[in-house]
Symmetry: C2
């Protein structure tokens, strides 16, 4: 291999993951209690270092999978954080990723192994380094993205009720939405499949379950349709 850049400084490149989940009422993030220095014992995002033979997306997948046992989830690069002394141990640049997972899918043993815990985004503890700002940015990006692309479904089980979907959007946007307007809007998008099945847990009457019709969405998108909530 050529080595044209040999006089340049090298740095450690970390990847930190903001892992979002939704538990029927609140938007949550999965945090770990650090069991290593620096800042041992404090709450932190799950992270790791980029290896020579992988790209950032792969590193993010690996790190997410290490903590949750889940693969193939929606992940997106957020931003790179590079303040010179952001990590007191050593110069480290961190690339933040956020992931959307169905909270039911996580692996309880792994969560325990890493002393991880789900926190409501409204009641999350103070985090190490610049992780607080990463979370803030991630929420802001999540708001933008879920209003322009059908990503909210990533946070729900495959079958969900209209009310669950509404509550999800309310949690993401941090505001109440009008029930009728919300349903009208979602229905007008015409990308859900209404099942015959009802969810009987939430009320006596029961409420119909829906599924996201990904194929239909893709077809419509190819024809110029754009999702908008």
């Amino acid at each position: 291999m050529l080595n044209t850049y040999s006089t340049e400084d090298k740095v450690l490149l970390a990847v930190d993951c903001i892992i979002f989940g939704f538990d029927k009422e609140e938007l949550k993030i999965l945090l770990i209690k650090r069991d290593f220095e620096p800042e041992k014992g404090k709450w932190s995002l799950m992270g790791g270092f980029l290896k020579q033979n992988e790209n950032l997306d792969q590193a993010a997948d690996r790190i997410l999978s290490t903590l949750t046992g889940i693969n193939n989830v929606y992940m997106e690069q957020l931003h790179s954080y590079s303040k010179v002394d952001r990590d007191p141990a050593e110069r480290t640049i961190s690339v933040a990723y956020y992931a959307l997972i169905n909270i039911e899918d996580h692996n309880a043993e792994l969560i325990e192994k890493y002393s991880a815990k789900w926190f409501s985004i409204k009641k999350a503890p103070d985090l190490i380094f610049d992780h607080n700002i990463m979370v803030k940015h991630a929420i802001s990006r999540l708001r933008y993205k879920t209003s322009k692309e059908p990503l909210g479904f990533e946070l729900l089980p495959p079958k969900f009720t209209m009310r669950q979907l509404q509550k999800l959007y309310e949690a993401i946007l941090n505001q109440k939405l009008d029930k009728r307007n919300f349903i009208n809007k979602i229905n007008s998008l015409d990308i859900l499949i209404k099942l015959d099945e009802k969810d009987m847990n939430s009320s006596r009457k029961g409420s119909f379950l829906y599924m996201f019709d990904e194929e239909k969405y893709k077809r419509k998108k190819a024809e110029g349709f754009s999702f908008k909530v």
Copy 2:
């Protein structure tokens, strides 16, 4: 300094800049002809490596300034690119930034020194590595950002005509806009100062010059106003 992460791989971190300008008709980017290997003689974004004592924003400023002689311009981090073999010389992760400059401000000597040239985004040459995709992403981000924040003015001289502003937005959005609707919309935002002065270059009648009223915009923004084109 502690050295907790000593077994981890380190990498070279490059910063590449997509430098946008506007020349009254077209949206342009400033490219350099590489005078070093690999890919010597090919067109490329201006780039450099992150140094130990600076953060990414500072590195981007430094790199922009090296080529244009300009400081204090609007710059924003775009994305990090990390394909393992993206640079054949050595494993390098690149963080792309885009900058908006008033094309009149650039330093001609520096441009010459780096064999740099302004290219219309529609007629830009093929670039090295993954720089083509970086430019594509930057244009897409620019579209989004300039429609939500008053950043277009960064690409214009301090005094500009309505028609110039419209042509700028047409170039960014890559579509014709209706003259009356555009002016009505801009005026309804109420963030421009109409000068008594006219620009007599573009027509016999001459057209009024405007300036962006940044203070007014800030005040309105603080009161909940949001820019939208």
